[in-house]
């Protein structure tokens, strides 16, 4: 799960990441070569999650505030680091993986029936809620977490996406969901209307499955919107500092200013896989990224848990390399082209655009090889199926083999598309809508120039990132031809969460549409329908890798960037980043030296 996954494609994420990455180029890749040695750099895979020293207070300097701390709502990177330190979903990931889930509140793996229509999970004994609730967690608390997720006052963003096959979930509005039963205090069963057991089991790693005590939360969930987040109780090793009534707002969390995590007195290390070395985590919110990054690098016992400024990444790379972590698998950026209408409804025109585009130039604009890889297909590194789909090199098709762009191949495909000169000769003027905020305009301009080289007349507009999605690229009726700055990331480690929302014809909706290119290929749709029902992680990975290859064969979009995220820490911090969360520092595994 990477930040773009939960945040979707938010202004904050793309803006911050883009800003951070744009000028790293100057530090490590602005020359002719974009290949930068990353030796000496930490990644979540190289950090030891179990060799920490117990005790101490970690100070976190963040530029951005949390979006929502209620486990039933949270879906942003910063929110996740807080939520996974304080809450225990049924499953979660250890820091160094995005492909293998670990039972968290669950006592073992999910049991999926042979017909794929029943998912049974047994939960741990002896896990207690933090004060003021204090009692032991039961399966009914997990069931209530789902019930409230469907409550409009909570409105969990994923319940209709990944749990709609649970009986009664689609019509649920806060009351008990008929398809979720609790035969005993430690067992919860999900009854499905379709054989989507594997998808549901995988989605149990979302914070939605973290238990919530109904008798305590109900009065807060009755508010519009729910105020449970401001009175939340914890099951994880840490809790937000609270008063005796459980109130967090103004005590453990001051919006825009600070948050304080302290140890949960009811947490038992014997019932958890997290070491939880730190005694306290003080989070300061709102500093300038150019300042707080430097404070972290030169200071003591500090980390920054949102994306550092470009100048800080450059400084860290040059002078504090052991304090810089680069995490792969942080999502992708690609160019969405209108598959339904206009010139790009022709597959050969799409291939021509792909072939002619200088993807290395676009990556340099985003910061070079330290923080990007040239994207060659749609599943991205660390997502199961990535290697099967072609790995870093990608499928061997001529329009994909020259990342720096090859106009001869591009012209070949233009000829195949019916333009004998190799240039577009139609009358259409392409409507291109990109995003403001560096380096998006530079990427958009490179795409625009490629299209002009292919003979297109273009009209390029740059708007605010959220406006780009809300008013243009996410609204099919606007009939935008090219959206050069769209981005995506997985919700959990499964190829479906990368490819289905963005390329399945069934995902096209009138507004808030994520299938920006309106890709609606019956063969691909059918393959996705089939893959969705496959049981077993390996088989699913292979199926979604095969779909990825089909997407490349149809050139449904023009990929250009796989993101890697930089993070910084002080010299006396043994930071452990979460591969599944764009490398964000994990408070339950990080320790002080």
């Amino acid at each position: 799960m990477i930040r773009t996954a939960r945040a979707g494609v938010t202004v904050a994420f793309v803006g911050a990441l883009a800003l951070a990455l744009a000028l790293v180029l100057g530090a490590c890749g602005s020359s002719s070569s974009s290949s930068v040695s990353s030796s000496g750099l930490k990644t979540p895979k190289t950090e030891s999650p179990t060799a920490g020293k117990r005790g101490g207070t970690l100070t976190v300097l963040n530029h951005g505030d949390f979006e929502n701390l209620d486990p039933g709502v949270a879906y942003f990177l910063n929110d996740y680091e807080m939520v996974y330190a304080t809450q225990r979903p049924l499953f979660s990931y250890e820091p160094n993986t995005f492909s293998k889930q670990t039972p968290d509140m669950a006592s073992g793996p999910a049991e999926i029936s042979a017909d794929g229509k029943t998912v049974t999970v047994h939960i741990r004994h002896g896990v207690h809620f933090s004060p003021p609730v204090n009692r032991e967690v039961t399966s009914a608390d997990v069931a209530y977490a789902f019930d409230r997720g469907a409550n409009p006052n909570v409105a969990n963003p994923y319940i209709q996406s990944y749990f709609s096959s649970v009986e009664g979930a689609e019509k649920a509005s806060g009351g008990p969901i008929p398809g979720i039963t609790t035969p005993d205090r430690y067992t919860i069963v999900f009854h499905l209307t379709e054989p989507k057991g594997q998808l549901v089991a995988d989605a149990l790693a979302l914070p939605l499955s973290a238990p919530v005590p109904e008798e305590y939360a109900k009065k807060y969930d009755a508010k519009k919107p729910s105020e449970y987040g401001n009175y939340q109780v914890a099951t994880g090793p840490y809790m937000l500092k609270a008063d005796s009534e459980g109130k967090v707002l103004g005590i453990g969390y001051q919006p825009g200013k600070s948050a304080t995590l302290v140890r949960n007195p009811n947490w038992s290390p014997s019932a958890d896989f997290r070491p939880a070395y730190l005694d306290e985590i003080d989070i300061k919110i709102g500093g300038d990224t150019n300042v707080i990054g430097r404070q972290v690098l030169e200071g003591s016992h500090e980390v920054q848990n949102d994306t550092p400024a470009a100048s800080i990444v450059q400084l860290a790379y040059e002078k504090f390399r052991s304090q810089l972590q680069i995490s792969p698998g942080a999502g992708d950026h690609y160019i969405a082209v209108n598959n339904k209408k206009g010139p790009f409804s022709n597959v050969d025109v799409r291939k021509a655009f792909w072939a002619g585009l200088d993807r290395t130039a676009m990556n340099k604009a985003r910061g070079g090889s330290l923080v990007t890889d040239v994207q060659t297909h749609f599943l991205y590194p660390e997502i199961p199926g990535f290697e099967d789909a072609g790995g870093l090199v990608g499928p061997k098709v001529d329009y994909n083999e020259h990342p720096e762009g090859d106009m001869a191949i591009a012209e070949k495909y233009m000829k195949l598309a019916g333009y004998p000169s190799g240039k577009y000769t139609g009358t259409n003027t392409l409507e291109i809508v990109g995003s403001t905020g560096d380096p998006a305009p530079e990427d958009a301009e490179i795409a625009n120039n490629t299209l002009r080289s292919l003979g297109f007349k273009t009209k390029l507009s740059l708007v605010d990132h959220s406006v780009m999605y809300a008013k243009y690229c996410g609204v099919p009726a606007e009939e935008i031809d090219v959206c050069p700055n769209v981005a995506w990331g997985a919700d959990f480690g499964d190829g479906q969460t990368v490819l289905d929302p963005t390329f399945n014809g069934k995902s096209i909706i009138p507004s808030g549409n994520n299938n920006w290119g309106q890709v609606n290929d019956p063969t691909i749709n059918a393959a996705m329908e089939k893959a969705e029902l496959i049981l077993g992680s390996e088989a699913r990975a292979k199926a979604w890798a095969a779909i990825d290859r089909e997407l490349v064969a149809e050139a449904v979009a023009i990929p250009y960037d796989w993101d890697k995220t930089p993070s910084v820490e002080s010299k006396d911090v043994a930071g452990v980043g979460d591969l599944w969360n764009s490398g964000a520092w994990d408070y339950s595994f990080t320790s002080l030296k």
């Binding site: 979707g8 879906y75 409105a155 401001n230 001051q254 919006p255 500093g287 300038d288 404070q295 809300a470």
Partner: protein, 320 residues
Amino acid sequence: MTRYIIRRLLWGVALLILVSALTFVLFRILPTGEPARLRAGRLATPKVIAAIRSDLGLNKPLIVQFWLYMKGIFLHFNLGYSYYSSASVKSLIANRLGATLSLTFGAAVIWLLSGVAVGIISGVRRGSKLDRGTMGTALVLISAPEYWLGLIALYLFAADIGQLKVFPGAGSYVGLTGDPSRWFTSLILPWLVLAATNAAIYARLIRGSLIDAMGEDYIRTARAKGLSERRVVLRHGVRSAINPIMTILGLDIGVLLGGAVLVETVFDIPGIGRLNYDAITHSDFPIIQGTVLIAALFIIVANIVVDVAYAYLDPRVRYS
């Protein structure tokens, strides 16, 4: 005078209503991220978005939303609740006001004292090396962006990342009641940075006004009566030259009380400006409306205070 003040106050209220209406309309009509969509996440179905819109009251007709908002403000002084944290906007603003007041008034004292002093000296010694030096420096300071100046100040003088490690750095601000000594030291750099540009502007303004005033007939008369040059300058010249300063001082303080976004951000001071900035990036309308309204209130009040002060400072001005 009393009638004048009452009339200005009533106009102030009317202006506040107008500002509220404009803010309300602008943030709902101009293209922007819809709060319900932003909050719902990227995979939200239309059903979920509709539910959130209903919860936030965004499905009501605009006029009804506006009426409820205005009723809340003027009858209950209720500015609404944040879409994200569900915290009361009134409490969020109250929580930030101390930092903004501290920053603004401290900086105002510095820029007023230094700007006026430099302006008078330059005006009196027009054409001297001192005049040219101070006015040149003023030009540089006016041209320097606050954000850049703040970064330079931190890189030079901050105790954590500075070269000279003199003053507490970014993020060191605490409230006056929490630790008065730390409050004062943590604000020295922000005060100086915020005051620098304004001091330069004030110095240039007062220099120009003073030069004009010193050429007036009443100055010649004062000199002819045998008054000392110091008395002529301070009692007659400066008193006249100070009026334009009063006008912009009121406006500057009003604007800064609405939030000094850049300085608050660079120095990590949790004031109203940063609250507003964060709200804009999240389309958190209730906070945007609340902070804009507070800023407008400060500007209107500051203007009224300036106008009244005029009457006392300048014998030629009398209101009826």
